[in-house]
């Protein structure tokens, strides 16, 4: 059910964004990507926050459900981060005239992607379930702690080395139609995140059940 609603909502948001929202005067059609890029970024950061939070709680409560949420959230988060990293350059090429710039926010997102891909590789490299959960929790929590430091570093790097950036993405005062569309898109992406997270969680539950059976049989 959640699935259906999420897919319908995302579809609706995309239809509204492409057909019923005015084309931005300066950026043209390229600006439409904003309705995917920004919601994906919001969801990605939320997902990693959830991973870190569940990690800390796991170390405290040792409840395997928390580990499953952390794992699922990290995996879904990596997918959304990839969407951010792909849509960013597609937008940047016509607007900034270059595929990639070391913009502070883009760089931060890239490093976040590195940390959480590392998180998934780490999980894949450990057999023992409780050890895997603890290591992942430690890395997830430290990853969250790292974000402000990377942000500060790239921000300071950027301000000291100004680059020829013509336009900055951000949240300028949008016309009401655009504002409604972006809010709808964010809502739709959050629904999609919830649906993916739940599906991935069930998969993790099934995987754990299979693993437990294997252990019990030994």
């Amino acid at each position: 059910m959640l699935w259906v609603i999420a897919v319908l909502a995302v579809g609706g948001a995309i239809v509204r964004a492409t057909m019923f929202t005015p084309i931005e005067a300066v950026q043209g059609a390229a600006q439409k990507i904003y309705y995917v890029h920004v919601p994906a970024a919001i969801v990605a950061f939320t997902a990693f926050g959830l991973t870190a939070l569940c990690g800390v709680l796991y170390l405290w409560l040792k409840d395997p459900r928390l580990d499953r949420v952390a794992e699922s959230s990290a995996e879904v988060g990596v997918v959304f981060t990839s969407v951010v990293l792909i849509t960013g350059p597609i937008w940047a090429k016509p607007i900034w005239g270059t595929w990639w710039t070391w913009d502070a926010r883009l760089t931060l997102t890239l490093f976040l992607w590195f940390v959480y891909v590392g998180y998934l590789v780490l999980r894949g490299a450990i057999e023992d379930r409780s050890l895997r959960a603890r290591y992942a929790a430690v890395l997830g929590a430290l990853g969250a702690l790292l974000i402000p430091f990377i942000h500060l570093s790239v921000y300071l790097f950027r301000t000291l080395h100004p680059m020829p950036i013509l336009l900055k993405p951000g949240a300028p005062s949008l016309p009401p139609e655009m504002l409604t569309t972006i809010l709808l898109a964010i809502g739709a992406f959050v629904l999609l995140f919830a649906a993916l997270l739940r599906a991935r969680y069930r998969l993790a539950e099934m995987g754990d059940a299979v693993e437990m059976e294997g252990e019990g049989a030994r």
């Binding site: 170390l59 490093f111 590195f114 940390v115 590392g118 590789v121 780490l122 490299a125 450990i126 057999e127 023992d128 050890l131 603890r134 290591y135 929790a137 430690v138 890395l139 929590a141 430290l142 702690l145 790292l146 430091f149 990377i150 500060l152 570093s153 790239v154 300071l156 790097f157 000291l160």
Partner: protein, 232 residues
Amino acid sequence: MPNESIAPGTLGAALLIARKDLAIEFRTRTAFFSALLFALLSIVIFFFAWDPTAVTSADLAPGVLWVIFTFSGLLGLQRSFGVEQTDRAMDGLLSSPIARESIYLGKAMANLVFVVAVQAVAIPAVALFYNVPMGGTWLVLAGIALLAAIGLVAVGTLFSAMAVNTRLAELLLPMLSLPFFVPVVMPAAQATARLLNGRPLAEAAGWLRILLAFDIVFVAACMLAFPFTIEE
């Protein structure tokens, strides 16, 4: 008899472990010499990868230094918990009455000595080969190098403890560590660049603050996290 024995405190046990690690390193010298050789080779290779008419040596030196420290540091960290793994010496540490944190602290201290020793050779070597006048700046540079080394070692020691228990030990350590090294290497390289270009140190104050904050936060966080990485 056991009632006469009093187990050493956290710092005392950490010093014992650090001294033991350094004794092993001094005896075998493999990691140190390979790290040193790596550093010197990199210095030479970087020199030929660079067009001296386009980039001044003072601009290139900081980058070279910090790339070298990052990767040679990883060579040392790789070995840190490896020596405990060979004959399960880790079980001996864990079944002794010392606090878990002292194992992390001792390992980190030994790793810090390792990284600083590599720096002590690499910094003069870069000054020599790249003809960078260090003059009166070397004391400040040593301070920056020490601050950065603490940050690298704090995170690297924890990840080394984790990586040895996985199937991808050698691959995983750099993979986990490098993103965490960004807020160490970037400030250190930036501050070094200001220093070698003869700019006032105040210009690098923001960078040094990031470095110091990173050290404080991650030494504390990694020490707290370490007991969770022990199987029990």
